[in-house]
Symmetry: C2
Subunit: 216 residues, 2 copies
Amino acid sequence: MPKDETQEKEPRERILEAAATLFSTKGYAAVGVREIAELANVNVAMISYYFSGKAGILKEIVLRYFDSIKAIYDKVLAENYPPETKLRKIVDELVELMKNKTIFCKVAITEMPFDLPEFADFKAEVARRHVEYIKLGLKVFEIFPENQKFSSIITPAALSLIFSHFLFYPIIPKVWQIEIDDEYYDLYSKTISTLLLDGLNGVMKQFINNKIEDGK
Amino acid sequence: MPKDETQEKEPRERILEAAATLFSTKGYAAVGVREIAELANVNVAMISYYFSGKAGILKEIVLRYFDSIKAIYDKVLAENYPPETKLRKIVDELVELMKNKTIFCKVAITEMPFDLPEFADFKAEVARRHVEYIKLGLKVFEIFPENQKFSSIITPAALSLIFSHFLFYPIIPKVWQIEIDDEYYDLYSKTISTLLLDGLNGVMKQFINNKIEDGK
DNA sequence: GCTTTAATCAAACGATTGTTTAACTATTTT
DNA sequence: AAAATAGTTAAACAATCGTTTGATTAAAGC
């Protein structure tokens, strides 16, 4: 059997994929650089060489994730559909993204809740860059365009709703005896879309009622 | 100023709270035992003495979280309300739980997606113990009592929806300029309840339609 | 008051952490 | 072909990891 190393991806990409795989199952902090290097089939020093440190890998993973999100966002918003259709398309695209880039998405999402000093500036910058986008989106979808509190509740709710499957992933096959295939993800996408859209409709009604009660 | 050490909680509890605080912000794997001991104002050896290791702390945190969930579950299920009211009460109680035990809940939830070897058996056991409960709940709430796939989608969706605020917590104040107080949590609880209930109603309709399409 | 048990401590354990160094090979550039 | 750059390596770096040891103090049992 000839060595297929020539057909292997470049070292930098191998490191990124190996790291994403390990981060997604064990979490960023629980993974050592030697473990990554071994899985990527490179020398440990290559991590600092290409990413100037372990933290650099996570930063690139998170950036790639946000770029994917942005691409979906731009694509759907450019189309000329009614708000509800746009929202359903967004959900479909996000589920599709997670199917194709599962480990990258899972890493970006599961590391969000944590506040490590070495990522403080990075996170602030990433958050800043995406604020306008989130707000623009809420305006396009015609969801509480002017209410800060509702936005701060709805946006995380929608995102964690869409990604819920991946947050609970290692638990799900242990609890329910189901086969997770393309058919399952179709049902998943459709169900989450409906849950989100019908739910948002209800919240909109509640929002309007609250306004009336407040005498506005 | 006299030393108030006598009024301090017992060492074991201090360790638990210090660890929960640190785990919730930095994640389990990123926190060292010396950091915990320092914050708890105890000697490092006390961690192994009381919890037989760092992993023991996380196990107790997770167990306490599940006990709280179970208590809420038992309480609401024992009451005689229609399914929708029960579900809304569950959400209210869960939000209340998160307000009072924020760091414990956040730790239990944020560590769920990870699979560390030292917790493999523990997680399997915890999952096993709660399968019957989840299934019983879906039956009581009259939500797809017999459909495995829908259950496996809806249950994680509902949970991550309810807990979404805490998953995104460090991000939220950076993106939206809002004051997070009791009033905010009231709105949060009401909004999430509506989103979930109206969303579930929509999914139920979809479920019934699918059955008809399948010719059942 | 003696003995036993529980609790706490500083110190050291070996293992592992992320990163850097300096030598080396391979590839480009000139 | 010579020089320069890029890529890769094993080894060592200091720092930190979680845990254990053995001594010491405090509390409880009799």
